[in-house]
């Protein structure tokens, strides 16, 4: 099916309408200046990191696939506010760098994994889509679309089995939302009241296929209805809205209330991966999102209202610039894995 200009216009109008009505904006407790500075810092870290990753890709230092998180920063940052590090578990798909940085993984190790070096979090054997970090509770990084939903439901199952109050944060996209195993997982999660928070990052495009062209119903927050799982649509460009919606769902899950679906309405600025010709969406649509809905600009506005100074913001910018520069340097200087690594980590030695 073609996606002609009329269709595109209709979709943009619809998206604009949704923006103003259905997606839930923040109405929770206001953030302090310190909170806002923290959100700003985390989001800028992701953006600057991803820009550099894109540049290193362009220089041939990163190979294969590289899916950038630029535009969606408010989601991972807002979610992380509810994560008890080392207790809760996080799992996601292939667009995963933002989640890792938020979870607390070392940017140096993430960047070095992208360049395929021994200093990478998987010793260079995983790449962009396959990074893990048990201490921060980050369980990947999965390249098969939708697989993380069943796996994440298993992480939640393990929490309930042990009788602790941990929850599993299970991220997936609007594309994965059409995979069968998502619904197999929903069914079991609600049947057994598992503490799974399903976070659908609806960036409106599954690779190059818009949600209207792939989904018979586009209200993804309602996808748990036939299992009795409640859901909520959230403005995923507003970090405070994300934070508050997640906190509510997490509280409920920790108290044994079972799974919850949070549909984050968000947007990716860059292509699906690196060789995306961008023919499936209008340039104006991307520009409009960048100029009117940018999640970092939104926090900057809130910071101004909270009387944060230019200097405070500049200090963060400089700090992040340094962190990312250090990561880039590390990722270039760390050597490739030794050939002897070829045959390690295939099995746990008994």
């Amino acid at each position: 099916m073609g996606d002609g200009p009329q269709r595109r216009e209709a979709r943009m109008a619809k998206a604009a309408a949704q923006k103003s009505t259905s997606a839930k904006r923040s109405n929770g407790p206001a953030a302090t200046k310190e909170d806002l500075l923290r959100y700003y810092r985390e989001m800028v870290l992701i953006r600057r990191f991803e820009e550099r990753a894109g540049q290193l890709y362009g220089m041939g230092l990163i190979g294969g696939f590289c899916h950038l998180y630029i535009g969606q920063e408010a989601v991972a940052v807002g979610v992380q506010e509810s994560v008890k590090q080392g207790h809760d578990k996080i799992i996601t798909g292939y667009r995963d760098h933002g989640h890792m940085l938020c979870a607390g993984m070392d940017p140096k190790e993430v960047m070095a994994e992208l360049t395929g070096r021994i200093g990478g979090s998987s010793k260079g054997k995983g790449g962009s889509m396959h990074m893990f970090d048990v201490p921060t509770g980050f369980y990947g990084g999965h390249g098969i679309v939708g697989a993380q939903v069943a796996l994440g439901t298993g992480l939640a199952f393990a929490g309930r089995y042990r009788g602790d109050d941990s929850v599993a944060f299970v991220y997936f996209g609007d594309g994965a939302a059409n995979q069968g195993q998502v619904y197999e997982s929903f069914n079991m999660a609600q049947l057994w009241k598992l503490p799974a928070i399903y976070i659908i990052e609806n960036n409106q495009y599954a690779m190059g296929t818009s949600i209207e062209r792939s989904s018979s119903t586009t209200q993804l927050s309602e996808r748990g209805a036939s299992f009795g799982i409640p859901g909520e649509q959230v403005d995923g460009m507003d970090v405070i809205a994300v934070r508050d919606a997640v906190a509510k769902a997490v509280k409920r899950a920790r108290e044994g209330g079972g799974p919850f679906i949070l549909e984050m309405k968000t947007y990716r600025y860059r292509g699906h991966s690196m060789s995306d010709p961008a023919k499936y969406r209008a340039k104006e649509e991307v520009d409009e999102m960048k100029t009117t809905r940018d999640p970092i600009e939104h926090v900057k506005k809130l910071l101004a209202e909270a009387k944060a100074t230019e200097d405070e913001i500049k200090a963060i910018d400089a700090e992040i610039k340094g962190i990312v520069a250090e990561a880039v340097q590390f990722a270039q200087e760390s050597p490739e894995p030794d050939p002897s690594e070829l045959y390690t980590d295939v099995y746990v030695e008994v």
């Binding site: 994440g152 060789s275 961008a278």
Partner: protein
């Protein structure tokens, strides 16, 4: 000063056309600004600035074709950009030719035993108890569940129904519904859930009502369970057992009658076990549950009710990766696993009456495959027949034969032969089904051919 380099915009791009500049000398750019358009073989794409600063100079003019990746195309003023240095070649150890020498069977290298694997000594006064394979498997699970709180059983009909083939009989009564978990009919889902639970440190036993249904779940067995340790650089384990009946039952048609031995045995990261008798079923399942790696444990529906002697000893655990010589002989080596071992032994008895002395090797573990035991046997018998229930092409027999040729070519006195199912989906009609499946007669025929 910072140079902006011609970027590669796809995994394969080596050069491109700089179709348009959006900036000129004197402009100030910041990160995220679109600065140029570049045309590759696939598409025209926008390039965004990563560094900030004043544009000092455009180095490559608009319209230039064939601009090589990493050529400086513009120059910015300001502090040195962090990522600006020209890409250093990675400090490479890794020339391809330096890769570790693969010896014969590289697939087995990582799990090659450091010490010789041996079955445990059974005390002379140990009682032998007639036990069905069904009960031996149940006993193995019960013992391991008593030993380790993190072991649990999950699958369709494993709890209240007591197992579709009664393998989990009475486990619900002993361990309760937290540890014996009935699932919906949702193979892909509960296999993935099991792998996730294993990643989080539990030790799930995932029962498939048959391995035919596990094809719906094979993505999680291979992509999620088998590969994650490697992809995580050794951080994430998946200690999980996938078990259930494999292969042909009786008159159930093609979709319910497939042998997956070769499928799983091809995958690095998995261990694959296919026992023949009850003692091995018990000892190897206990080993599988304790193993920190994902294990595919292939049972046989036609064998569940058959009784064998099982030694009554505390904690009977067998080594994974060790074949067993079931019958010693001098004229020909027959390799088999699972139900085919019984057919091979029967064939050997009949052939003995004709003066042909067969050695029968029960492979027991398909991955890692114990080719040393097979090779030693062939060095003695100089002849080889492999028997399996699955299809022949690319099968277990193909691998056995390849290993023998690699390690004992000069010892062979005849081309090895493979016995296997006919190369068709399994038919329903009784006569056609019998014609398709391998059995005693086909093994005898093959042995006679290699000893002729």
């Amino acid at each position: 000063m910072t140079d902006i380099l011609m970027p590669a915009l796809s995994p394969t791009m080596e050069e491109g056309t700089l179709t348009k500049w959006h900036i000129k000398a004197g402009d100030t750019v910041s990160a995220g600004d679109v600065i140029a358009e570049i045309e590759t073989d696939k598409a025209t794409m926008e390039v965004e600035a990563v560094d900030e600063g004043e544009v000092l100079e455009i180095l490559v003019a608009e319209g230039s074709e064939g601009v090589k990746v990493n050529t400086p195309i513009a120059r910015l003023a300001g502090e040195d950009g962090a990522a600006a240095p020209a890409p250093e070649a990675p400090k490479a150890h890794a020339k391809a030719e330096e890769a570790p020498e693969s010896e014969g069977a590289p697939a087995d290298a990582p799990v090659k035993p450091k010490t010789e694997l041996k079955d445990p000594e059974i005390p002379a006064d140990a009682k032998l108890v007639k036990t069905t394979i069904r009960d031996a498997l149940r006993d193995a699970m019960a013992e391991e569940m008593r030993r380790d709180e993190s072991v649990f059983l999950i699958g369709e009909e494993v709890a209240q129904y007591q197992g579709a083939y009664k393998v989990s009989r009475e486990l619900l009564q002993e361990f309760g519904d937290k540890r014996v978990v009935d699932t919906p009919i949702t193979e892909h889902g509960f296999a993935g859930l099991g792998v996730g639970a294993a990643m989080a440190g539990l030790k799930p036993i995932v029962e498939f009502m048959t391995f035919n249904f596990a094809m719906q779940a094979i993505d999680h067995i291979i992509n999620s369970a088998a590969k994650t340790l490697y992809m995580s650089g050794g951080q994430i384990r998946a200690p999980i057992v996938f078990r259930g009946p494999n292969g042909a039952a009786s008159r159930v048609g093609a979709q319910h009658s497939q042998d997956y031995s070769a499928w799983y045995a091809q995958v690095p990261g998995l261990k694959v076990i296919a026992p023949y008798d009850a003692a091995d079923a018990k000892g190897l399942l206990k080993a599988a549950i304790r193993d920190p790696n994902p294990v595919v444990f292939l049972e046989h529906e036609m064998m569940y009710g058959i009784e064998f002697d099982v030694p009554e000893v505390d904690d009977y655990v067998l080594p994974i990766g060790k074949a067993k010589v079931r019958r010693e002989g001098t004229d020909v080596t027959i390799t088999a696993h699972s139900r085919m071992v019984g057919f091979a032994l029967q064939a050997a008895e009949k052939l003995a009456e004709e003066g042909i002395d067969c050695e029968v090797i029960d492979l027991r573990t398909l991955r890692p495959l114990d080719h040393e035991t097979i090779v030693e046997s062939v060095k003695k018998t100089n002849r080889l027949v492999s028997a399996e229930e699955g299809w022949g092409p690319m099968g277990v027999g193909a691998e056995v034969v390849a290993r023998v040729i690699e390690h004992a070519f000069d010892y062979l006195d005849a081309p090895p032969l493979r016995v296997h199912q006919e190369d068709v989906p399994l038919p329903y009609a009784a006569n056609l089904e019998a014609l398709s499946l391998p059995g005693v007669d086909k093994i005898i025929k093959a042995v006679k051919a290699v000893t002729a």
